[in-house]
């Protein structure tokens, strides 16, 4: 996830907290948040993932005027080769294998972050339920408006040879 500008906004935090069924008032009630130790509305632990909304090139968001691989008239809007494209477009595809966050500071509405992503290691493994697995790591550093590192995120994606056996 890369974002030149990831503004932390109260209503986005509220919607995100609702979506993970977290009714902690620190995520939406400013008056309550003032009485807590952080003293402010803060973002829930996995909120940095929502920087996808601010990544202009994020490939799992439909873009105006561009083909989209989800269903419309047909089961997919894009014909892909069978080897499994981004996001599970073909037979197998990409799945999220691991996610790690390190919090240097908890962010609040009004913070404006940047996210810079660098590729990490890649490795392979033979899976019992999905054939050959290819893992790739990416590291995103989120910095605030003062250039201070606030969150370090490390994600690991995996491409499977075929859909995971159930």
């Amino acid at each position: 996830m890369a974002a030149d500008k990831f503004p932390i906004e109260a209503s986005h935090i509220m919607m995100f907290a609702r979506s993970v069924a977290d009714d902690n008032k620190i995520y939406y009630d400013e008056d309550y948040a003032k009485t807590t130790e952080p003293g402010n509305i803060i973002a829930p632990p996995t909120f940095a993932q929502a920087s996808a909304q601010f990544d202009p090139n994020y490939f799992l968001r439909p873009k105006i005027g561009e083909p989209w691989f989800g269903s419309g008239k047909e089961a997919t809007g894009i014909q892909r080769d069978g080897s499994g494209g981004g996001g599970g477009g073909g037979g197998g595809g990409g799945l999220h294998a691991e996610q790690h966050f390190e919090y240097h500071r908890h962010v609040s509405p009004g913070d404006v972050l940047t996210g810079e992503t660098k590729p990490g290691k890649t490795w392979e493994k033979q899976g019992k339920r999905s054939g050959k697995l290819v893992f790739s790591e990416s590291i995103t550093e989120y910095r605030d408006q003062n250039g201070e590192l606030v969150i370090t995120a490390r994600g690991v994606g995996v491409r499977t040879e075929r859909p995971v056996d159930q």
Binding site: R61, F69, T76, L95, Y103
Partner: protein
């Protein structure tokens, strides 16, 4: 509300039910909030006919997000230092998840007391769907 060194022991556990009978609508809600619109999570036609999975399934990050709620309810707001998981099995509509934090270590970092937790989320069949860790600042 915050955890205290004096009141914690290695092996202590904290458990919450994260969700019962996960609805597709909640997965849609997560897609909208997070910005991850991968059709594998919300588009049954694409997922069954093209990707060949039995149905749509939850974003790993939705399960991680709900598991995070259990952790922050335990350690308190703004206390988390680290949180990481492996997604060990997919989560499907209709699943019910329970999540447990187990005190692994009580230690110090940068002169502050810290608890290291093992984190595990399981589905209704006892299958582990998330396996991870968290570390949080605690009171002396």
């Amino acid at each position: 509300m915050a955890l205290k060194v004096s009141e914690l022991s290695v092996g202590d556990t904290y458990t919450e039910c994260l969700v019962e009978d996960l609805k597709r609508t909640q997965i849609v809600q997560y897609a909208g909030a997070s910005g991850d619109y991968n059709p594998l999570h919300t588009d049954e036609v694409f997922t069954t006919e093209v990707a060949k999975y039995p149905s749509v399934f939850a974003h790993g990050m939705l399960s991680m997000g709900m598991t995070g709620r259990m952790i922050t309810n335990y350690v308190g707001d703004g206390r988390l230092k680290k949180y990481g998981v492996r997604f060990t099995s997919q989560v499907w509509p209709g699943d019910s998840l329970n999540s447990t934090a187990t005190v692994d270590e009580i230690t110090e970092e940068d002169g502050e007391p810290v608890v290291n937790l093992k984190v595990e989320t399981t589905n209704q069949d006892g299958m582990v769907v998330i396996s991870g860790y968290a570390s949080a600042r605690i009171d002396p």
